[in-house]
């Protein structure tokens, strides 16, 4: 029966193996598909699963605060700990709710004594004190033009202090400030040998301590590079051009040739020269003093705390009008005692109230706390001594939020898109509307296709070479490492003293050739030089958002140009013809009858471009991104007007993908660093998905709207 049927059936199965084969193929393909889906599900699920609680706990703070170091402290059980409420909330956000043994939480208002005063022009004030005022008064920033070393400076001795000075210093003290010295001065002789050391010719690693100790001696040596201010522990390479023998005193000897430390010079031969040194010893009793600057310099070495700049002197306040400022009362008192040359008027007391929270810690506990909150906590409980920690360890970048990276990424994307759209649209317009169709445009298109396939790290290196180190800029203070500086025109104004100091500018007033000025600047370990000319200097823009934005722009340019061209091609020829037939010039017709109708397509494509750019790490790694940056880019800008804009563009930024790379790949991993990782990745994913969604929406929107 069955046989009969199959012979009648013209579609009966012929080959035996077929059905199993079909099933196998179906199985394989569906397995591959579901595998990928599953992987995606697992990864995204994990990110969402882990990231959401972090976002919920930290709330909007996560995207409105800057990244900072996370401290994990073992706090000792205590009662009545006080902390500003804001910081208290942050602590709650950083920890799992049930992990904290807090009790008796109560909010209250705490009052702080402040002083309001007017700072008068002509005041003389120490550098550290000025910076404190600037910190406390937002918007107050003094571009000083003059220093003063004559004016006496004040200092406070907290408790009786015994001072012991060598003869030359003592004599200086005696001549400059005889009033300081008490009647009772004892003299002591100590055997302190001089050392005669021989250093062989060669190249050595040198630390800053050794360097500072050796500079005043007769040793001739040269540094291969300068010590950066922000890395005092860095070891630099030095060259001793020939074998030398020098005689130095014991202090220098121990500073420069301390065997325990890294970066000390090896001694070829040494000999002790017996020498007796006289020490003058006296006690400086507790109180406030006023003395010339050199005296304070001598005493500071003996441990007197001061915020005066001991080498450069005080600053002359060059304000036009009295300026109203505020300071905490304690800081104000310190300011007045330390600066005899200060002139103030209209001093008034006032109170500032702040929201504080008081809580008990019912048992010893491990608390995750951002470093700023920890500082606030310590500060608030300094006097009462109620907050004590038994141990502390820190995790960089794992605390706070991700405001800096978000802002940085946004800025990079904006700069990139402005540059890329501008050049991209121009290039696409040229290729599609102006250029003759031929071998030339074909080869350009081919080149662009190739460019789109170049790995992004190569773009990063390209950006480093071109924008960071070589791009031309117009400046009156070129970098000494500039590849080529072409003097353009003499300029009238000289940079302000504060700028000169902050930027390490070598000032040259003599008429010298550029190369002489450069070598003089280098010899003085200054990064920039000034000799009264405006230069076109090929020194690059430095690691800054401008360089990063340009690098990213070059990277997306092929994509942008291609999609712009597509959009232009999609504009019907009829529009161009109609416009030309009405007497429009070529540019008029492009501007009024082509570009406006290509714009939706360009927009859609560029939003997709943004998604790509926002996610790139490699191109910005060398060109724009800083792992650590405590302020937002515009907060560091000090210039005004157009110069401020330029300075703003020259700031480095944090960027979201680079931040994720840092927290997930560069710092030691632990359970404490995880919340930041998942939180940032989730936010980043949301942003990218929102952009992709926007692009899809735009596409649908325009497709519905435009029908020609």
């Amino acid at each position: 029966m069955a046989k009969q049927k199959s012979s009648n059936n013209p579609f009966c199965k012929k080959q035996r193996g077929t059905p199993t084969n079909e099933i196998f193929q179906y199985g394989f393909f569906s397995f591959a598909t579901y595998c990928i889906l599953l992987c995606a599900l697992v990864i995204f699920g994990k990110i969402i699963w882990e990231g959401t609680p972090v976002l919920l706990r930290k709330g909007s703070d996560f995207i409105t605060t800057k990244p900072q170091t996370l401290s994990v402290v073992e706090a000792v059980e205590s009662e009545g700990i006080e902390i500003p409420t804001e910081n208290f909330d942050n602590i709650l956000g950083s920890n799992d709710d049930d992990a904290l043994p807090f009790a008796n939480i109560e909010e209250f208002q705490k009052a702080f004594a402040f002083k309001r005063f007017s700072l008068l022009p002509g005041s003389v004030i120490g550098e550290g004190y000025l910076k404190n005022i600037e910190q406390q008064n937002e918007g107050f920033f003094l571009i000083y033009t003059e220093r003063n070393t004559e004016n006496p400076v004040g200092f406070t001795v907290e408790s009786d202090k015994s001072i012991s000075l060598k003869t030359p210093e003592f004599e200086q003290l005696q001549s400059l400030a005889p009033d300081l010295l008490p009647d009772e001065i004892s003299t002591r002789e100590i055997q302190l040998n001089d050392h005669k050391v021989t250093i062989a010719k060669g190249e050595y690693a040198m630390s800053k301590t050794a360097h500072d100790a050796l500079v005043p001696t007769q040793l001739i040596f040269q540094m291969r590079q300068g010590f950066p201010d922000d890395e005092p522990d860095k070891i630099c390479q030095s060259v001793v051009p020939e074998t030398q023998t020098i005689t130095i005193d014991s202090t220098t000897y121990f500073a420069a040739f301390d065997e325990d430390e890294n970066g000390t010079l090896p001694i070829e031969a040494e000999e002790q020269l017996p020498k007796k040194t006289t020490f003058h010893q006296f006690t400086l009793s507790k109180g406030n003093y006023s003395a010339p600057l050199p005296v304070l310099a001598i005493l500071a070495k003996q441990g007197i705390a001061t915020q005066h700049n001991l080498t450069r002197g005080s600053i002359v306040v060059n304000l036009d009008n009295p300026t109203e400022l505020i300071l905490p009362a304690a800081d104000y008192d310190q300011l007045l005692t330390a600066n005899p040359g200060i002139k103030v008027e209209g001093v008034a007391d006032f109170e500032q109230k702040a929201d504080y929270t008081r809580f008990d810690l019912t048992k010893d506990a491990e608390i995750r706390i951002d470093i700023e909150d920890l500082e606030a906590l310590n500060r608030a409980n300094q006097e009462s001594g109620k907050f004590k920690i038994s141990s502390e360890h820190t995790h960089s970048y794992s605390g706070g939020g991700i405001l800096g990276p978000i802002v940085g990424t946004a800025l990079l994307v904006i700069i990139c898109m402005v540059v890329a759209l501008f050049t991209g649209i121009a290039a696409a317009t040229f290729l599609n509307e102006y250029a003759r169709k031929g071998a030339f445009t074909k080869s350009i298109r081919l080149a662009m296709l190739k460019l789109a396939g170049v790995p992004s790290i190569v773009f990063g290196l390209f950006g480093l070479g071109l924008f960071v180190m070589l791009a031309p800029s117009l400046t009156s203070t070129p970098h000494t490492e500039s590849k080529l500086s072409i003097p353009l025109a003499p300029i009238a104004s000289t940079p302000q003293l504060r700028v000169v100091e902050d930027k390490k500018i070598h000032m040259e007033t003599r008429e010298l050739t550029t190369s002489e000025v450069v070598s003089a600047a280098k010899a003085n370990n200054q990064a920039y030089f000034y000799d009264g000319w405006t230069y076109l200097s090929f020194q690059g823009w430095g690691t800054c958002m401008l360089a990063g934005g340009f690098t990213l722009a070059i990277m997306v340019l092929p994509v942008i140009i291609t999609s712009c061209e597509e959009s232009l091609r999609a504009v019907p020829m009829g529009f161009r013809e109609a416009s030309l037939a009405l007497g429009a010039t070529k540019w008029q017709s492009i501007r009024t009858a082509v570009l406006p109708y290509a714009l939706p397509g360009i927009l859609t494509a560029s939003v997709l471009g943004i998604t790509r750019v926002a996610g790139e790490t490699a191109p910005i790694m060398f060109t724009a991104a800083a792992a650590e940056r405590s302020d937002l880019p515009w907060e560091a800008v000090q210039a005004t007007g157009f110069a401020a804009f330029v300075e703003f563009l020259q700031q480095s930024v944090q960027a979201l993908p680079y931040h994720i790379y840092t927290v997930a790949g560069r710092i030691p991993q632990s359970e404490y660093t995880e919340p930041m990782q998942f939180g940032s990745v989730l936010i980043f994913m949301l942003i990218v998905m929102a952009l992709a969604g926007l692009s899809i929406w735009l596409r649908i929107h325009f497709r519905n709207k435009i029908k020609w």
């Binding site: 003759r436 169709k437 019907p572 009829g574 529009f575 161009r576 013809e577 109609a578 416009s579 030309l580 037939a581 009405l582 007497g583 429009a584 010039t585 008029q588 009024t592 009858a593 109708y597 435009i706 029908k707 020609w708």
Partner: protein, 311 residues
């Protein structure tokens, strides 16, 4: 000829010299314009050819003189030795089978073929209002302001109706609202569209029907006050009723403008045109009064084509 070029602007548009107030629309009086004498000579010569009899007593607007045109740098000629004069303020129809070069010729008249990079005039010349239009001193921009064009596929910009009509004036730099308003209304009235759209001037032009869109394109063209309007199969995408409206409009327009129209519809040609030229394979076969061509053609090919035996 002499009187034509100089007095035309005043005669043609008695009411609307508005565009010419802001921008001088008359052809530039360049020193290297060909001497009048030469133009008169050529006219005389053409008058002697048998095909030009029907033009006697009419002012000539466009003179095409032994024109050969190539799309591929002169390798093959798409148009071959075409000579014909187009009279002023008349409707001249070009007919012929597909691919015979009607569009090519009409696009030569306002130099739209300049857009094709490899195109070139291999022989002869075109004079409009006595001026050799491929002369160095002629700007195609100025030429196109005088010689407007309406395309086969109606192509209004995706802007409002008002902006479409004002487009030509705006690119000439006219910004004054009242001038534009006036010109838009006049052009729309001229294109017999005013009553239909006067309440929706700010609406998108793409919301109009096909026939209305084509008339809008005509309005857009007459807004810049050209002397000549070239129409390349303006009705081929329209239904009979819309076609009738456009035809009616063309009859109206012939009072003020010189119209050259390419059409595939014999009926249309016979209804609206005063003169008809028949082309075949890039050559001008016959040119004469429309009634003559349709009732009593000289050439066998013409007769065959008109009676629908080929093409």
């Amino acid at each position: 000829m002499n009187s034509m070029t100089q007095e035309e602007p005043k005669n043609i548009e008695p009411t609307a010299n508005l565009a010419s107030q802001a921008v001088d629309l008359s052809p530039p009086e360049t020193p290297d314009a060909p001497p009048r004498q030469a133009t008169e000579q050529s006219e005389v010569r053409h008058a002697e050819t048998p095909t030009s009899d029907h033009l006697l007593g009419l002012n000539t607007m466009v003179e095409i003189d032994d024109l050969s045109f190539s799309y591929d740098m002169g390798k093959t000629n798409t148009l071959k030795n075409i000579s014909l004069n187009i009279p002023e303020k008349q409707v001249t129809a070009f007919i012929g089978p597909s691919g015979c070069g009607k569009s090519t010729l009409i696009r030569c008249l306002n130099r739209m073929n300049d857009l094709v990079e490899t195109s070139c005039i291999t022989n002869g010349e075109i004079r409009i209002m006595g001026q050799h239009i491929h002369a160095k001193s002629v700007s195609p921009i100025e030429l196109r302001k005088q010689v407007g064009m309406v395309f086969q596929k109606y192509n209004p910009f995706p802007k409002s109706i008002y902006d479409n009509v004002a487009y030509g004036l705006r690119i000439q730099g006219i910004k004054k609202k009242n001038l534009l308003d006036e010109a838009v209304e006049k052009s729309l009235r001229g294109a017999a569209l005013w009553d239909e759209v006067k309440d929706r001037l700010k609406d998108s032009a793409l919301g109009l029907s096909g026939g209305q869109q084509q008339r809008l394109c005509i309005a857009r063209t007459i807004a810049v006050q050209p002397k000549v309007i070239l129409m390349d199969e303006p009705c081929s995408a329209l239904d009979p009723i819309a076609t009738a409206k456009v035809e009616e409009l063309i009859m109206e327009l012939r009072r003020d403008f010189t119209i050259v129209i390419v059409t595939h519809s014999m009926q249309q040609a016979s209804r609206i045109s005063d003169h008809t030229a028949f082309f075949y394979l890039g050559e001008l076969i016959e040119y004469g009064k429309t009634d003559m061509i349709f009732s009593n053609p000289n050439q066998k090919q013409t007769e065959d084509y008109i009676s629908g035996r080929f093409g």
